[in-house]
Amino acid sequence: MSAVDAAAVAAWVREFTRLVHEQRDELTRLDAAIGDADHGTNLDRGTAAAVAALGARPADDAAAVLTTVAMTLIKTVGGASGPLYGTFFLRAAGALDGDDGRAVAAAVRAGYDGVVARGRAERGDKTMLDALGPACDALDGAVAAGRSLEEALGAAAEAAAAGRDATAPLVARKGRASYLGERSAGHVDPGAASAALLVQAAATALAGRG
């Protein structure tokens, strides 16, 4: 089985970029309901720039790929999503040690912890953490149980999607949506929706590795 190397991580980022582009209008529509209607546009611009940066400056180790993606997102996305996704990739880069399933799970967990710290948010606040958190738990659990990375990421993607859907009834406690109070209930959180795409992209792009 091939390792989770620089090419694999770059493929993950390209798949995430493809999904964001495909879902751009849907993400923006979700954001229009409870935010400021720019999540899809901003993330589409940022992920496209990240793919371009990887093309212009190919890296030969996986952590360097993650760092390039982080710095590009921080530079180009703006708003709150830029620092949050940038922090996810930056912390994941710092924690990546190895090229197997256990290393991937630890890196994703470090990225999640970074988003928690940067956003001063927790699960249940109706944010991207509501998709990323359950994904981390599923990934850690499956890897610890000795399942393949493909199986583990598949479980993580399912958990992320379920977490995304479960944000609908929640009242937002962080970000611009929180100004709406009770009126934020009844809408899926756009950050949780894009975070679910990130995990889904990993499941697709890293299948058969680790």
Partner: protein
């Protein structure tokens, strides 16, 4: 909605070109979209950096100059600037005495300034302190929201901290003035119309004729309630009373009062509102020691206004009276 633009995507860049042409004493970095005072960095002086989404002009670039900000970062319309811009601004104003970041309390602004401060700390020994403004009483300050929004008091904080920095005071003291000013001021705004983001081309929210939104945010965020249009006299009460209640003011207090236009309201209405605000304050036994009436922190073309009251002491009044020389606020210099 008709706008004076070329391509909506170029609004911020082209406005900065005009600002540079109109104010040759400022230096504009068009690549990073940072506006510097012409003599930055000023040796031995604490540098003041602010910034935020564009669309609130003259905030912040209009307040760059002697006695106020050393640099302002211009984000996209209603979108926080990115860390690279803030890093460039911070490095460009570092005169050896440290740099103060004045940040309005919005999730994106706070995070981007924080990341910039971390990047500066990683690459140099420049000391950076951040002060966050959060004066909008329309939002409940609780664990269940992102906290009160930073609005009108930001203008006053930039003036007061700018004066302290110009006196050559150290970073800790300048930051203390900023914090004290921010803690002493509260605001409440209202809208008569929505605003229209150039790239969106249609109003951000619907506000039918005959209604107004009380507690509006400067990006069109929802307020406390939507009510039928009322006479200015009653609007003044709706804005001033929650501010006084939050500041817990008692008779005999002195304030700096800002009656601020949202961008689409003429000065004649703002003066009319100011008279009503003074009347409400007089009844409450609060005296206006200094005032500012005009459009200082706008929301593009939104019609409406906000009221900011800052409880002032002798030191803050002295700093308020100190000379300032910027495109949009200047006296004594």
């Amino acid at each position: 909605m008709q706008k004076l633009v070329n391509d909506p995507a170029d609004v911020v860049a082209e406005a900065l070109r005009g600002l540079a042409a109109a104010h040759p004493d400022l230096r504009v970095d068009h690549g990073e979209r940072v506006v510097f005072r012409g003599d930055a960095p000023v040796r031995g002086k604490v540098g003041l950096v602010s910034g935020g989404g564009s669309g609130h002009e003259p905030m912040h670039a209009g307040f760059v100059g002697a006695g106020m900000l050393d640099a302002a970062c211009a984000g996209e319309v209603f979108t926080s600037p990115v860390p690279d811009q803030v890093v460039a601004a911070t490095r460009g104003v570092d005169g050896g005495a440290g740099v103060l970041h004045i940040v309005k309390n919005y999730t994106g602004d706070v995070m981007n300034f924080e990341m910039a401060a971390e990047l500066v700390a990683a690459g140099s020994d420049t000391e950076v302190v951040a002060v966050v403004t959060d004066d909008d009483v329309a939002v409940q300050d609780s664990l269940y929201t992102a906290g009160r929004r930073g609005v009108g008091v930001t203008v006053l904080v930039e003036k007061l901290a700018g004066a302290a920095a110009e006196e050559g005071r150290p970073l800790a003291e300048v930051a203390d003035v900023a914090r004290r000013a921010a803690a002493s001021g509260r605001s409440m705004g209202m809208a008569l119309t929505s605003c229209t983001v150039p790239a969106a081309g249609r109003p951000t929210f619907d506000l039918p004729e005959g209604e107004m939104e009380i507690g509006i945010g400067i990006h069109g965020e929802p307020g406390r309630r939507r009510v039928p249009l009322a006479p200015a006299r009653e609007v003044a009460e709706m804005l001033v009373e929650p501010v006084l209640g939050d500041l817990d003011m008692t008779g005999g207090d002195e304030v700096i009062a800002l009656v601020n236009g949202m961008g689409g309201t003429p000065l004649i209405e703002l003066y009319l509102m100011y008279a009503e605000v003074v009347a409400v304050l007089e009844r409450a036994g609060v005296r206006v020691a200094r005032n500012l009436v005009g459009s200082y922190m706008t929301s593009l073309d939104m019609a409406g206004c906000s009221v900011t009251l800052l409880e002032a002491d002798d030191e803050l009044l002295r700093l308020w009276d100190a000379p300032v020389r910027t495109p949009s606020l200047r006296w004594g210099a």
